[in-house]
Structures are given as C-alpha cells and as structure tokens.
Symmetry: C2
Subunit: 229 residues, 2 copies
DNA sequence: GACTCTTTTATGTATATACATAATAATTGG
DNA sequence: CCAATTATTATGTATATACATAAAAGAGTC
C-alpha cells in the first residue's frame, strides 16, 4: 500500500517541531500535500485531523490549516480509579468502610448536584489504603434515585468507587483539584497532622437522567498528580 | 446523505449508558451494525473508533469490540498557558520579572532534565499577576543549548512562558501537580503566609533534540485545577 | 462606506472497494 | 495430547469519488 496516515502525521509533526512550518503559518492544503507526498487526500485528512485533535494544528473550513500559535495542547489523565492507581505503584490495595447512613444532604451538596434542597442521599465515608497505609479519605454522597441499590450493597467488601463503576450509569462529570489544609477529621483518618497541605479532589458525576454522586477525596500528604503530554 | 458518524456515535453511546450493551459484553461487528443502521461500514468504524478513544469501548482485531469494563476514561486538561487562564477568568494579565541569571544548575535539576552535572542554564524567576494580584510564582531553568536566545530576550516585556512558546522547539514533557506548604520565598512573592497550602506545578519540557526547560510554578492559595470529562 | 447576495474554496463527511493485519480458531503432524 | 501450521475473521487502513458545509472573498446595491 502507499503511505500510511501515521507517516503523514509523523512528517507533519516533524515540520511543525522543526519550525519548517512556523507557528501561526498556513500550511499547504490537503490536496496539495496529498499530491506532494503521493497519497490520497483522505489519508492526509486523517493525519491532519489527528494533529488538530492533539492541539498542534488549527483547522477551519475554507480558511485552511495553520500551526497553532500557542499550542493549547491537552494533557491527558486517567480518571483515578483508586485501586488501579495504587496497584500501579506496586502496592496492595485495600479499603475500609468508616460509616454509611442515609440522611438529608447539606444544602451546598444538593445544590452542586442540582437536586432540590432537602433531598435524602446515601452518605458514605471510607478510607483507601496502599500496603495498609492510608492513601486517601473519601466522603461521598450517592443519589438514591439514580442508584437505588447503594443502600444494600456490601460496601465493606467492595469499595464505593468500584461498586459505582460497575453499577451506576455514568455519562459526564466534573473534576476539581485543590490544595487545602487537612481538616481535623481528614488528619485523623489519614494519620497526619492537622493543617498539613493535602490534595483534594472534588468530583461530581451525572448519569444520563439524573445526578449520581458527589465525592470529596482527600489524598494523604505527598500525593502527586502526574500528567503526560 | 445517510447517517452521520455522530449519529452512530450517539446511538452507540446511548446503548452503552443505558446498559443495553453491558460492560464487558461483545457488541455486534461493524458490518452487522452498518447493515442494521443503514450506513457504510466506514461510518460505523469512525463512530466506534471515536468511542474507543474516549474509553467507552475496547477494540481488538478479530476479537471484536466490547464495552469497557471499568471505563478508564481520560480527563482532558488544557496545558496552562497562564495568560489565557487569567484572561478566561475575566481578569487582566500581567507579569513581573524578579530576576534572571545564567548560572550552574543544581544537581537535582540537571538530573531531572538529563543534562550532565555542572551544566549552566538561564535561571529566571518571575511573577504572574491577575488584576495586579499575585497569581503564580515561577522558578524556571532554561537550557542554553536548546534555546540560545533566552539570555538576550526582553523578559521584562514578554513572559518567559510566552517567549518560550513562541521561540522554543517543543515536543513532549511531563507535568506534576502537588500540594505543598508555601516556602518563605513563595509566600513573600505571592503575598500569603508562610506554610499555607498551595498548588505547585512542576514541569519539564523536551524538544526534539534536547531538553528545553524545567519549571516550578507555585499558584497563589485557593487555585483550582478543573478538568472536564 | 455599509449592506446584502453570490461565488469560491478548503475542510468535513459518506460511500464502495480493496487489501493489510492481528488474533483467534481450526487443522495437521508428531 | 501438544505444538506447529494454516485458515478464518473483525478491525484497520488506503483509495477514488461524490457531495456537504462553513467561511472567506468578491460582486453588486444602496
């Protein structure tokens, strides 16, 4: 066969990185590139589309394709499934249920999930451990409407995280990391000092029909969030 | 025209989210789907490939396509170009050069970039401001071999971040966020209290031929890192 | 000039066809 | 039965062709 789209992709990337195609500059159109390189336009299209998705190029109909000025490249991060994160470190995963109760959600939580004030939800607190050392403390609210089974599932045997992945419908959500001082409760469960800087991940998950869960995950001190470009 | 690949994409996603196609289950092959839905196989391929990239499906030649067991979905994050981050908040961006000097890199820095011990580099410290309030403090080492122009560029007029984006070759890099206590120097420049929890981003950038820069960016307290799924 | 309308053009997509490739399944030889 | 070989098959890719669509450029009007 002729050239593969990966070949075109690599060649174009080389030209971008070597600044043969300068930032902001218009590059030849697909037809021309196809003729020059000796392949079909569809092949060029596939390669340039990939480069655009990766943030190297900006493409607009009629206006053509230009090298991105400030490469707004996207870093990708696997959404933390804590078991995998811990096992990737070569450590043994375990978890401990602290408590679970169905009760009224605080107003800020029901607001954040778009549920009416005064909604009841299942409130679960648990601890994730790596080699029996505290790794993260989780405080989670689960919407009973979206996930009715939550009240009766054995959260001492399977972690809320994993149970939900397997049992809850799931479409989109938000993630937000911040650096905060460990609260009294967090410090107690994570075995650290009150006020020490810790990473907190707040996450809301929405199913196709209804909000599913809101979670606050506090990592033990020293946690890193690595991303790859 | 017939159905678009987005239509197929949406339909398949609906089936996954409604659990009509259960996690781990094999879905019909492309040819069959194309026949059922009334479009060409290439169109189905485009849709399923997109779903696989998004993490909903796992595809293997001959083995077929199945719904991902634990949707290892990837969150995407725009790599911070600080000006854009600040302007997106509706604030005015500015920056202030604190100092710049060409000197020996500390060993841990040259190691991290894979440069021999005792290499000289340009050391730049600067402050980024949003509406004239400290937003982030940057401590950066720039490899003179990869970016010779750095020593003479007017860093009081253009931020190191932007100058490098425009002038340095750039291919891949690492990003690592952590929560730490503000050091004395960081606290002084950010106008916060010593020891307060702050987000730190450490980043290394490598060009096609040589390492380009290592950076430590300390955000003012209260900074959030938002990701979208 | 400011406005609308039309034309042009580069990218975006859909299709049929052909072949490539990886991985499973079947077959064969010992 | 086991290992090596071959056949099968679903996805992956390349191609030509045709048409769709967004947006810029140009033409015409006031």
């Amino acid at each position: 066969m002729g050239l593969s789209w990966q070949d075109i992709h690599a060649d174009a990337l080389r030209r971008i990185q070597s600044r043969e195609w300068q930032p902001g500059a218009l590059i030849p159109n697909e037809e021309e590139l196809a003729k020059d390189l000796g392949c079909a336009r569809a092949t060029v299209n596939r390669a340039l589309r990939a480069l655009a998705e990766e943030g190297w190029l900006e493409r607009r109909r009629k206006a053509g394709t230009r090298v991105a000025l400030s490469p707004k490249r996207r870093a990708q991060m696997a959404i933390p499934v804590i078991r995998q994160e811990i096992e990737a470190l070569g450590k043994t995963f375990s978890h401990r249920l602290i408590d679970r109760v169905t009760t009224l959600m605080p107003a800020f939580q029901s607001d954040a999930l778009g549920l009416p004030a005064g909604t009841s939800a299942h409130h679960v607190r648990s601890l994730y451990l790596a080699d029996n050392l505290a790794f993260a403390y989780e405080d989670r609210w689960v919407n009973l409407i979206a996930v009715p089974g939550i009240e009766t599932c054995p959260l001492d045997q399977i972690s809320p995280n994993e149970w939900l992945v397997q049992n809850a419908p799931f479409s989109r959500g938000t993630l937000e990391y911040s650096a905060v001082a460990a609260t009294d409760e967090e410090a107690r469960h994570l075995g650290c000092t009150l006020g020490v800087p810790v990473m907190v991940l707040e996450r809301q998950t929405f199913g196709p029909d209804a909000p599913v869960t809101a979670m606050r995950l506090t990592f033990a001190p020293g946690h890193h969030l690595k991303l790859v470009i």
